[in-house]
Amino acid sequence: MAHNDRQPLIPPSLTHTAVSDRISGIVLDQPSPGAWKLAFVVSAALALVFLGALVAVFTTGVGLFGINIPVAWGFPIVNTIWWIGIAHAGTLISAVLLLTRQPWRASINRLAEAMAMFAIVCAGIYPLLHLGRPWLAYYLLPYPDTMDLWPQWRSPLVWDFFAIATYLIYTMSFLYLSLLPDFATLRDRARARYTQILYGVLAMGWRNSAIHWARYERANKVMAVVAAPIVVSVTGIISLDLAVSIVPGFHFTIFPPYFVAGALFSGFSTVAMLAVIMRTLFGLKTLITRQHLDYLGRMMLVFALVVDYAYTQEMFTAWYSGDNFYRTVYLDRWTGPYAPVWWSMIFLNVVLVQLLWFKRVRRTPWAIFCLAVTSNVGMWLERFQIVFTSTHADYMPSAWDTVWPTSWDWLVYTGSLGLFSLLILVFVRVAPLVSMHDMRAAIHERDSHG
């Protein structure tokens, strides 16, 4: 990508010390901005709602949710798929841009990794809730139990468990690895005793040794190489929960790539959203530039187009299969009780997103922020229509039903949004929201190549 045309990705005057002081200053010295405090209070309140709703669901049972036969999956699975999708771009941005040596990675990779981490936390809670008997979740683990039973290895739900668990551990490790040298930077700059001890412990004695860096870079490279297969496998496996079944509307071979593209679309949108918020909140307009937003906008557009292509292929397959049930599912999506969901999705993900073709739009923070929000809503509607329309009317008309989410569904969902933003808000106050060591390396690159 041409990146020298308009605005430099790193300001020409920025030095190693300046970037370290500026970013560690946000954590160590700068008081929280008023907008941060307001957002914190709102998010904390929502997180409490989440907690309360969880207590209610755990004590009363999943009957509180609008899930029943035939729509047995409902909201919890819609939200799992949506959240895990958001997580994916975090991993991919960080890893793929590292492998391809993209210079715009340095200022946004930390936000992307943190976003991935917290989105998986939100995603992981739903399957547990949806189990109905969450205290038996350990049945999914293979262990020599007294009943001499093993997990059913041919079940996508067991694959799911392994995929999400792997992804969670991977993301935690990747985030910590990226934070390790930055914790050392904070330790070196901390003046208060408790921050010195806190970051000293977190930095584990990292001392910026060239030999340490050499091993660090190798390990990081291994992590990055593995990132893309992990991302594809995790969302791929989740899509197999649907595709392996014989439900019309689920049983499509294009599901794994279709889900991955959708995941990346919503993930890049969320990174763009966070980038706009953080650059405004902490005055980082020179580090997270309009050029960065431009690149994020391009990625959103690319994956939106892949998603749109998948829509056409899904419709084509339904028609070309000659299968009455598949065709009926499609006609039902267009005209049935959930038709408004389908058409809103088309408007947001197919029509509105075309605005990203315009450079002006991609480079205008509020515009790209709005498009990021609408894209996330669109992707959520997509997950909703896949889960709801496919199951509510399948082969037997006697089993048809139209169900809607209950207020408990909505409480848990909005609560999880609050939990996510709470975690992000706390994270940017205790850890550097821009990777300092990656920035310093980028500055060195700039200086040595002009």
């Binding site: 370290s20 093993w150 290895w153 392994f162 000293g200 584990m204 291994v222 593995v226």
Partner: protein
């Protein structure tokens, strides 16, 4: 800048700060050429070419990650095969007991996870982390290693006055800004 007095005192080594990354790489290469061993250098980011200049090449981590990854995948596959074929054979949906295609997702995940954890743990063990204490932390200027400081550390072998003077003069000749001796 502390001098090189107190010849009887034990020291860990001599540390010198350089102005730029390029100078540090040059000094590291020169120090190796001059016969100094077990050198270490400190820089705020991975400086290209610095580790080789110190005589260090990292080759083991990717191979180890691959090996452990393959072992992890094999263990994952074996667990599934053993439990489904040997320990609790039960026919589900008329599928064969050893339906290996269905075992692949879990095999892949355990393999990838083992490889990734191997890479990280190998990095930490290789770097001897966590390590709360190290003599370089005694240096008054060392916090600049995470900002704009480029340091070269020459460990002391005998700590004789002669060796200390030679090291000091060598570093000075390489253009070091500040040279200090480190307590052990």
């Amino acid at each position: 800048m502390r001098g090189i007095a107190m010849a009887s005192q034990q020291i860990y080594g001599t540390i010198a700060r350089f102005e730029t990354a390029a100078q540090l790489v040059g000094a590291a290469a020169a120090a190796r050429k001059a016969g100094y061993r077990h050198l270490d250098a400190f820089a705020p980011f991975p400086v290209p070419g610095l580790a080789p200049a110190l005589g260090f090449r990292e080759r083991r981590i990717p191979a180890l990650a691959l090996l452990i990854g393959i072992l992890g995948a094999a263990a994952g596959f074996f667990t599934q095969w053993y439990s489904a074929v040997i320990d609790y054979p039960i026919v589900v949906g008329g599928k064969p007991l050893a339906s290996w295609q269905a075992f692949l997702p879990v095999t892949f995940e355990t393999g990838v996870l083992s490889g990734v954890l191997a890479a990280i743990i190998a990095m930490l063990i290789g770097n001897r982390l966590p390590q709360p204490y190290h003599p370089v932390f005694n240096d008054s200027e060392f916090d600049r290693a995470s900002g704009d400081g480029f340091f070269l550390l020459i460990p002391s072998v005998s700590a004789t006055a002669e060796e200390r003077t030679t090291t000091h003069d060598f570093l000075k000749g390489e253009g070091a800004l500040n040279i200090r001796e480190l307590e052990p």
